[in-house]
Symmetry: C2
C-alpha cells in the first residue's frame, strides 16, 4: 500500500487590537495590534464541541503537524501524535495550534514592528506571562467561533499554558492534558534560564536587544540553546547515544580541535537553532517561564484550582530531571484535594524531558482514551 499523501497545511494569521481592543497584559500594559499565527487540522463539527487546542513548548511554534509544502523535509513538531487515527485524531477532533504571544514564528513578539515607532520592539516589548499567552489564545478561539474547548494539551511550557487555561477559563475547557510540566518553575529551572539569558545578553551583537537589521547575537543564543538542550536530555540518554566517542577520530588529539560526539552534536543543535529562533524571544519566553507560579499567584495550588471543572490528565517521565515527577505529583495532589477528576501516569522512559515529544507508544493511547472520555462527557452534558 502506498503511503498516504502528506498533509499540506496552510498557516493562518489572526489579527486583533488595531483599534482600541488591544490585549490588557498582566503587567498593566496594553499590547496591540497583535498577530497570532495558527494552524488547524481536521474539521470543526457542527456543534463546535470537538476543538482541541495544542500549546507548544519553549522553542515550538504553530506548525504542529503536516507539511507547509511537499518539499518540506520535516513535518510539524508533534506530527507523530496528530492526524487520522493518531492520538489527536483529526478524523474526530478539530486540532488548533498557535504560536505564543512573544514568539518569533509568526505571532507578535519582540522582533515585531512597534506601530508607534515603525521599528522592531526589541526590549521595549512588554514582558508577557503565561496568562497573557492564554488570554491571546482565548481571543483566537472566540474568533474561530468556539466557546468551549474539548481540551487543551501541552508539554513543558505548553503544560504551563494548559494549567493556566484551567485556572483562567475554568468553564471554557472540558479536558486538560499536562505533560512533563510543573505548576511553578523551580529555583534550578530559574538558574538555567538565567544563565541562558546571560549568555545572550553578554554577546556584544545583542546590543541591548537592538540588533534587528544587523548581525544577530548568534553565539550567545547558540550557547543558551546548548545549555537548554542538556536539560532536555538525560544522563542516561546521552550516555546511550554518544557515550565517550570522539567525533570522526579514534584517539585524543591533545588539542582543542578534537571533540567528543556530544560536543559536536550540541554545537550543531545550537548552530541550527539560531536560524529559526530570535534571541529576544528566548529572553522573553524564558522570563515568562520563570514567572510562572500558580502557587504563589493564587495563594497555593489548591486555591488556584478552586474553580476548575475540567478533567485532567497529568503525565510525567521518570528520566525528566528538568520537571521531575514530584512536580507533576504536586499538581495531582492539589487536584485530588479539590476532588477534581484527575488521571496521573508516570511513564518509565529514558529520554529525559524531551520524552513528551518522543514517546508515542504509551502517551498516544492514554491521550486518545482521555479525549474519548471527555468527548463522550461533552456529548452527554449538552
Amino acid at each position: 500500500m502506498a503511503p498516504p499523501d502528506p498533509l499540506i497545511v496552510i498557516p493562518r494569521d489572526y489579527f486583533f487590537g488595531a483599534e482600541n481592543d488591544g490585549l490588557a497584559l498582566e503587567s498593566g500594559r496594553e499590547l496591540g495590534p497583535v498577530t497570532i499565527r495558527y494552524e488547524t487540522y481536521g474539521n470543526l463539527d457542527q456543534k463546535r464541541r470537538n476543538a482541541v487546542l495544542l500549546l507548544h513548548a519553549f522553542s515550538g511554534d504553530a506548525h504542529a503537524a503536516g507539511y507547509h509544502d511537499p518539499e518540506e523535509t520535516h513535518p510539524g513538531w508533534w506530527d507523530s501524535m496528530i492526524g487520522p487515527g493518531k492520538a489527536f485524531d483529526t478524523d474526530r477532533y478539530y486540532v488548533i495550534c498557535s504560536n505564543v504571544l512573544g514568539g518569533c514564528r509568526g505571532s507578535t513578539g519582540p522582533g515585531s514592528t512597534d506601530p508607534h515607532t515603525g521599528e522592531p520592539y526589541g526590549l521595549t516589548f512588554p514582558v508577557v506571562t503565561m496568562e497573557d499567552m492564554v488570554n491571546a489564545q482565548h481571543k483566537l478561539i472566540s474568533h474561530l467561533g468556539i466557546d468551549r474547548l474539548l481540551a487543551v494539551a501541552g508539554g513543558s511550557m505548553g503544560g504551563m499554558q494548559a494549567l493556566q487555561w484551567s485556572v483562567s477559563y475554568p468553564n471554557d475547557v472540558a479536558g486538560v492534558i499536562v505533560l512533563a510540566s510543573t505548576a511553578r518553575l523551580s529555583a534550578q529551572g530559574i538558574a538555567f534560564n538565567a544563565v541562558g539569558r546571560n549568555a545572550i545578553m553578554s554577546d556584544p551583537l545583542w546590543n541591548g536587544g537592538d540588533y534587528y537589521g544587523s548581525a544577530p547575537p548568534d553565539r550567545g543564543l547558540s550557547i543558551a540553546r546548548m545549555i537548554g538542550h542538556i536539560t532536555y536530555l538525560s544522563d542516561g540518554a546521552m550516555h546511550e547515544r554518544f557515550g565517550r566517542r570522539l567525533q570522526e577520530r579514534a584517539d585524543f588529539g591533545f588539542d582543542f580541535h578534537d571533540q567528543f560526539e556530544v560536543e559536536s552534536y550540541l554545537e550543531h543543535k545550537g548552530g541550527t537553532f539560531v536560524d529559526r529562533f530570535d534571541a529576544n524571544t528566548y529572553i522573553y519566553l524564558s522570563k515568562a517561564i520563570d514567572y510562572f507560579d500558580l502557587c504563589g499567584k493564587y495563594g497555593g495550588l489548591e486555591a488556584a484550582f478552586s474553580n476548575c471543572s475540567s478533567k485532567f490528565l497529568v503525565v510525567s517521565f521518570t528520566s525528566d530531571w528538568l520537571y521531575p515527577s514530584y512536580q507533576s505529583k504536586e499538581i495531582v495532589v492539589a487536584l485530588m484535594r479539590r476532588d477534581r477528576d484527575v488521571s496521573y501516569v508516570e511513564i518509565d522512559c529514558p529520554f529525559g524531558h524531551d520524552s513528551f515529544l518522543l514517546e508515542t507508544e504509551r502517551q498516544g493511547p492514554m491521550i486518545s482514551s482521555f479525549l474519548g472520555t471527555v468527548y463522550a462527557d461533552v456529548q452527554t452534558k449538552r
Copy 2:
C-alpha cells in the same frame, strides 16, 4: 576558652625542568620549566611514613587550610577537615596540597610565561591530563623526600587524581580516598564542560586565548562558572536555599531588572570567580576532566586497577547528580572484582556535588578512621 590562634601558612614553590629534566607529557610533548605551588600542614615524621597528599577539585588551589596572613577573611578551601584533631589530623599526619599543573594559582599553566618566547603561553600551552598532573605531584613528593605516601585524597577532579595515583604509582600510595568522583567523565559531564568552554571562547575578549596584559574574557568565564555552579548544587538545595524569592523586592517588576535570588547569587558567584581564576585554565582543566577515562585508557576498569595495592575509601552523595553514586559504585565493583580492600559509603546529603566540601559530620570520622587503619598497616609492614 579563647579560640586557638589561626594557623598561618606560607605557600612554597617547587621548581623543576629548567635543564633537560622537563615533564614528559601524555601528549608526547615536554614541558619545562615547571613551578608547582604547594602548602604543607603538620610535620613529616622521621620515618617519612605519615604524608598525606590532598588533591584539589576544578577551581581549588594549594591553599587547603589555615590563613596566609591574619587579615585573610576565609581560610583554605578544606579547612574544616584539616588541622589538629580534624579528619586530616595535623597532629599525626603531614598534609600536603599542591596546585595542579595547568592551574592558575601558582603552578605552571597557560597564563605562565613561555621561556622560549618570553610571552604567556595562552593556547600554545600543551594540553595536560590527569596523569600529567599526577606525574608533577610525584616529582614534588620525591623532592620532599617522601617515597611512599600514607594516602592521597580528593573530591571531584581531586578524586580523579587520587584514582590516577593508585594506577600510575601503585606502590607509592598506601591509601586512596575518592570523594564524589568518577573513573570516567560521562557524556553529560562533557556536555556541560563543552558549553562552558564555548562561553569563554565566544567572548571577543578571549581573543584566541591571547588576552594577557589586556582585559580578560570575564563575561564568558563568568557564564561558564554559572553553568558549573548549577551542576555543583542540587534541585533540592537550591529550592531550600533560594526557593522562588525575588532579590530585594516582593513583586514582579515585569522587566529585566528584577531578579530571583538564585539569579543574583549565580551572577555574584560568576562575578567573583573571575577575580581568582584564569579563563584559559578553565579551558585546559575542563579538557583534562573530559579526557579522564580509566576504563578507555586501560581497557576496562578492572584492568586499570590490576597493579593496585592500596586500600580504598570511596564516598558518594545521594544528591550529587554531576557524579552520581552509580559512578562511584562502578569503581567499587571493579576494585572488589580485583579483590582490593575497599570501603564504600553513600552519604545521604542534600547539597549536591558540593557535599564533599560541605559535609564534615559523617565524612570526617570516616576519613579519620580510614587514615588510622592505613597508618597502623604501614607501621606494621615496614
